[in-house]
Symmetry: C2
Subunit: 409 residues, 2 copies
């Protein structure tokens, strides 16, 4: 399980320089939850006055930490807050003892940092069905509290990795009322999820000031355009969590009308979402699926996800095969309305199929050359209406089988 | 494309002895539609008085032959009927020229056999988006009509193969009113479908006499318990077709109350459905997913299909990994109601998880030993109600990637 995987060929060249977000400090530690010789717990402390919003997996078998976060996320308190994340054990499907472990950790963090327990959020990622050895974590809270550092975000990104082959970070700045507002985020995830080894966790911080309700509505709306538009293998974690905190230290207050901030946040979330796809298990191609001309945006998304999740489409991409017949198949099976005779398909700029039949000018060698690229776009126009959607995915390769058919150990 | 694949390790030892069904005759020929050196067209002639029923893919991008069959299937005529199937070209996504090809073939079959065109059904399976070279087929109809033979069903099963690694046949007999009624069927299919190379086609024949409506209602009902309960890769063909013909030559008339006949037909259909899974692309394990205790049968089926289609579950099975966490994940993501704390999971007879937590008596080495078998059953009880479902699938292996990531050529 701790076997080092080669870094994804789609990884960014380096971890980005992330700005300090005043009011957030990070610490990491080697707690030995499961892994040896690496950090596996990260603590983020949020200054008094910070607001916190979140979105979580809709799985009906959600983990104990997710249920605890969901119970707390709608509350507010000016006392500050903390986020504690461990890798190596997901604390999922652990019954009553899962709840006990969450309580033990949040109680100790609250005690050491002088916070109400309702302001301590946790995530766990790693093997499922095993009781979280929470003593190993609580024993380190004092040490973590001593090490809190405003510059520790990259180390935090590394401590939350499981089968990720690179740490994931993104940032941006936006000018509002003549002042600079900063946003920085980290994420982990490599299968859309392999519940014994992976999951998608995202933590985003800004020095803007925002009411909890404003922050929540922005994050929920943008999540539907970013993290809910990626798929590696169609599987969904029991632990997926996104937490966003606004410390207010920039002195700039945002509200529902702050379109500049919202666009900046969207860029950060999309960047992190794309990085999760780029670290998709076994991925060798980063693929955008763009669907237009559907009867509605929802129908467009249904078609786009049917294409992105089709094993036959994903293996064709792995084989650099411009197999547009499989696109036709995926559209046909999606369940959303489609008309064979108004359907057009492009690989990049190459029009392959035009209104229900192969484009007479289409030359297979052109598409074959295009498919050798590492960044691909497959576009489909349904010819029915104005509905559109974008989703992002990767190919399905021998690497995916290697990673996921290996025995847990 | 014509590259020989090794025979599936899950294949039956041999093609079964299929009985002659009086009133049905078969012929096959090498027409060179796409493949060289093998038969690729089969013709079945049905005696006057035969009734025909059918079920077809629900894909919204259905092929021209499917649309033609659907238009004809509700009619009846005592003149007899014919089924003509070619492999090598699916005649799908071929626009108006697809319709012209179907018309050319059905017109010629009708002329040579002296049938109304409305009684000639066709299926095509193979590459999509290429115009069917129908002249190569129509040139052979005369020869086919000369070769019609009551004993030709096994040759017919071979002529319709594409990426199948073995021909598929099943049969049974049932005593009704002191007389023997025979049922024999053939099928092809190996991916749930790869539209450029595969698809699922099924042809079943009986010497019972049956009104068209009776036959149709039986086939539709049993299809939901058999062919609609298998999945190789969640992908759905543009061409899937099942045709059933009753010649009436046994002199035994069946109706809605003929439970013995219906059970016999169910066995034949399930046998053929299982053979399609056993020839699943790259399959090394045959897996039954049994879900009980769901809120309804429909919910049970949703859970069972979520498990059967999960790439993470399928790769774990390929790796002989009793990874029950992935079963929890698949149930959680299915969208049907589930309660983590009433969920139990078995691998074979081994109780792995009991009401939301790992069974304290569970020993991983027992499950690991079980997973080495070639025929597996994964059972899930939701603990919510009386809903239940069975589906059948196979594992996801390097072989699937090999077959489907290869370039079409």
């Amino acid at each position: 399980m701790a076997k080092a995987l080669p870094v994804s060929p789609l990884a960014p060249a380096r971890f980005p320089e992330l700005p300090v977000i005043d009011g957030v400090r990070f610490a990491t530690v080697e707690a030995g939850v499961r892994y040896a010789g690496r950090t596996d717990v990260m603590l983020a402390h949020l200054a008094p006055g910070s607001t916190v919003a979140g979105v979580f997996t809709r799985s009906s078998t959600r983990s104990a930490p997710v249920l605890d976060c969901q119970a707390k996320i709608g509350q507010h308190d000016d006392a500050g807050a903390a986020i504690l994340v461990n890798s190596g054990n997901a604390n999922a499907f652990t019954g009553k003892r899962g709840v006990e472990a969450v309580t033990a950790v949040t109680t100790e963090v609250a005690r050491v940092l002088g916070l109400p327990e309702s302001r301590v959020f946790t995530s766990s990622t790693g093997v499922i069905g095993e009781v979280l050895p929470h003593d190993r974590i609580t024993a380190k809270i004092g040490e973590l509290s001593q090490k809190l550092d405003a510059g520790g975000i990259e180390a935090a990104a590394r401590a939350i990795m499981t089968t990720d082959t690179f740490p994931k970070g993104a940032q941006t700045e936006v000018e509002i009322d003549g002042k600079t507002v900063r946003i920085a985020g980290i994420a982990k995830g490599s299968g859309m999820i392999a519940p014994d080894m992976a999951t998608m966790l995202v933590y985003i911080f800004t020095d803007a000031a925002a009411d909890r309700e404003v922050l929540q509505s922005m994050v929920s709306a943008l999540n539907d355009q970013t993290f809910n538009c990626i798929t590696v293998d169609s599987d969904t974690s029991t632990s997926d969590s996104l937490l966003m905190a606004a410390t207010g230290t920039s002195g700039v207050r945002i509200d529902e009308t702050s379109v500049g901030f919202m666009e900046a946040l969207r860029r950060v979330m999309l960047d992190l979402a794309h990085q999760v796809v780029r670290d998709g298990e076994g991925a060798t191609k980063f693929v955008e699926i763009a669907v237009t001309g559907a009867s509605s945006d929802a129908d467009a998304r249904t078609h786009a996800m049917a294409i992105a999740n089709s094993p036959l489409v994903k293996t064709a991409i792995a084989g650099e095969d411009a197999n547009w017949g499989r696109i036709v198949m995926a559209v046909g099976k999606s369940g959303a309305p489609a008309d064979r005779d108004t359907l057009s398909i492009w690989f990049g700029d190459i029009l392959v199929a035009n209104k229900g039949w192969v484009n007479p000018d289409y030359r297979e060698e052109d598409a074959a050359a295009y498919m050798k690229g590492q960044e691909l776009c497959i576009a489909v126009d349904l010819g029915l209406g104005g509905g559109k959607a974008h989703v992002w995915t990767c190919d399905l390769t021998h690497g995916y089988i290697d990673i996921n058919a290996d025995y847990r150990s």
